[in-house]
Amino acid sequence: LHSNLRRLAFPPNHKMTAPRNREKPMQLQMSRDDLIRAYRRMTAIRQFEERVEKEFANGNIPGFAHVYLGQEASGVGICHELTDDDWIGSTHRGHGHCLAKGCEIGPMMLEIMGKEGGLCNGKGGSMHIADFDKGMLGANAIVGGSPPIAVGAALTQKLKKTGNVSVAFSGDGASNQGTTFEAMNMAVVLEVPAIFVIEDNGYGEHTAASYAVGAPSIAARAESFGMPAETVDGTDFFAVRDAMLRALERGRAAEGPYTIVTECPRYLGHFVGDPQPYRSEQEIADARARDGLVNFRGRVTEAGLLSHEDLDQVDQDIAKEVQTAVEIGVSAPQPDVSALESDVYASAY
């Protein structure tokens, strides 16, 4: 019996699960400004992360960095219809989620460099960025840490009847963590507007999802918990956004949770500097061939919604922003040692 089950096998030999009931062509749904915003955020992620890679090599970024290259369309597609009152919980690979949710490049760069004025004043770093004003409840360096937290945020939204939703980003690896499963069941039982987004980039560190996920399908596994679930191409912004619109229909009505699996191969290694001996040239080339930004540019220009000039302009604007952020970041001071013992408690201790 088991031997008959098709194992999730992506990569090396990736089978895409067809997204279900993909409705109405996107151009009917998005304004020009909307499209620009989406492209701007994807571009911000792409350029920010490429620069993080560079500055890490330059020694300007301490510790570890996990970049989001190749997954831009997933985070931006998920967050596109969210407001600052919709919350997201992120992962160790959180830069993209932050930018997709509207965090600013400057304070993010400062945080990642461990500088004063960073989003967490340098105390958090790459794996612990949070921006509550933007509804970003925090990156999380514990795999499987965010899903239960998102359920709690969704409980607040349900009890306060706000019509908002809470999104938990996880990876294919985190989809095997007990905390993620518990969160899914809890969300179904409490009927809260939690949306579980599993970004299947093919690997958990150096181990392929095709090995570590025993189930034939991550989405089907989530569905068996008692919620709707679907799998979409995570490099197709429009496909991701469409799936999110379906999840939001349910979430805004506080009808309960939803799971979206976005498939978006990882471009680089697990962390900046991972030589990836376990991946073939070919596999990495295939991954890079699936480019959410190229896909987006092609679709919107062919449809005549935006011109190449429009998009090139965005590229240049972002490039300036990133350059400025790095310059400010490099010259900014590290937090004063007096900050070491502050922020441990909110009330008297």
Partner: protein
């Protein structure tokens, strides 16, 4: 003033805070009880009835039964607390903390610091501690050191009904994650407890008894043994100062040092194994800041370095008892 049991005091504190603040919710396994059952929810109120009646009074939206998923329970409390609620989460027996410790010490305890002071996580984690009920190795532990060592947490261990109510209301109103540990063996203890709400600040130890010969420090269930020992010692003309820290984090060092300055002799009673215990923690503080006043070795009366045994004969021997406290106190007093 009306006499109330610790159980009643805790129940009253929760009810009064839920009345006062709509953001206070109760979440855990069987805190209401009976969800999905043929007679419907609300008839249980926790395995020991501590949350009895809350469901009928505040409804299922605020008294929330959960699946047996502690990581999701604390994670849910974390997310709710981060976003404006004040959850009171229950982990039935503290022994179960091992399946959800991450959400306690890597998440709740660190949010505020990691996020540069922007987050607050105002929740209370209620849980039962203590041996003596023949509940075996996985339902009888006293793990307060596990929480006390974690920066970002506050830890409360009430020893009587009056403190239980005042400290719990303080905990619910506090903006930090607070671990509230209830000694199973103390639930029936009664003291005078005002009907109205009141708070007791954290970090203020209490003198349970005053004496000049030796200082006894005791927490949680151990307080009963310490009091019994003090009675007996008094008969032999040895007067004990008994200090109940009430909260282990923050810890009221001043009061402890003050007492030792007076007595010069210290015995610490702690219902947990000895290694890296609160007893060792307090001893080390006194061995530094109170060294000058010490006239004798600091004695610890703890459980042995073993799991909690089931058989009554062994469990009774496992617990710190009056006799061992008396011996330690005499040892300290007679030291020259």
């Amino acid at each position: 003033m009306p006499k109330k049991s610790v159980r009643t005091a805790i129940n009253e504190a929760i009810a009064q805070e839920m009345e006062r603040d709509p953001n206070v919710i109760v979440i855990g396994e069987d805190v209401a009880g009976g969800q999905g059952s043929s007679n419907g929810p609300g008839s249980v109120g926790g395995v020991f009835g501590v949350t009895a009646g809350l469901y009928d009074r505040f409804g299922g939206e605020r008294v929330i039964d959960t699946p047996i998923s502690e990581s999701a329970i604390i994670g849910t409390a974390n997310g709710a607390a981060l976003t404006g609620m004040r959850p009171i989460a229950e982990i039935m027996f503290v022994d179960f903390i091992g399946v959800c410790m991450d959400q306690v010490y890597n998440q709740a305890a660190k949010f505020r610091y990691m996020f540069g002071g922007k987050a607050k996580t105002p929740w209370v984690l209620r849980s039962m501690i203590g041996a003596g009920m023949r509940a075996g190795a996985q339902h009888s532990q006293t793990l307060h050191p596990l929480f006390t060592m974690i920066p970002g947490l506050k830890v409360v261990m009430p020893t009587n009904a009056y403190d239980a109510k005042g400290l719990l209301i303080e905990a619910i109103r506090d903006d930090d994650p607070v671990i509230f540990l209830e000694s199973k063996t103390l639930y029936e203890q009664e003291t005078d407890v005002p009907d109205e709400a009141y708070t007791i600040p954290f970090g203020e130890a209490e003198f349970v008894r005053e004496g000049d010969d030796v200082t006894l420090i005791a927490m949680g269930g151990a307080i009963l043994h310490a009091q019994a020992a003090a009675e007996a010692l008094a008969k032999d003309g040895i007067e004990c100062d008994i200090v109940d820290p009430r909260t282990t984090s923050p810890l009221d060092e001043e009061t402890i040092l003050e007492s030792v300055e007076n007595t010069g002799r210290l015995v610490i009673v702690d219902e947990s194994p000895p290694r890296c215990s609160l007893a060792s923690d307090i001893a080390s503080i006194v061995a530094d800041k109170g060294f000058k006043s010490l006239k004798a070795p600091i004695k610890k009366v703890t459980c042995p370095h073993t799991p909690v045994p089931f058989a009554p004969s062994l469990e009774d021997e496992f617990l710190p008892n009056a006799n061992r406290i008396i011996a330690a106190a005499k040892n300290a007093v007679n030291y020259a």
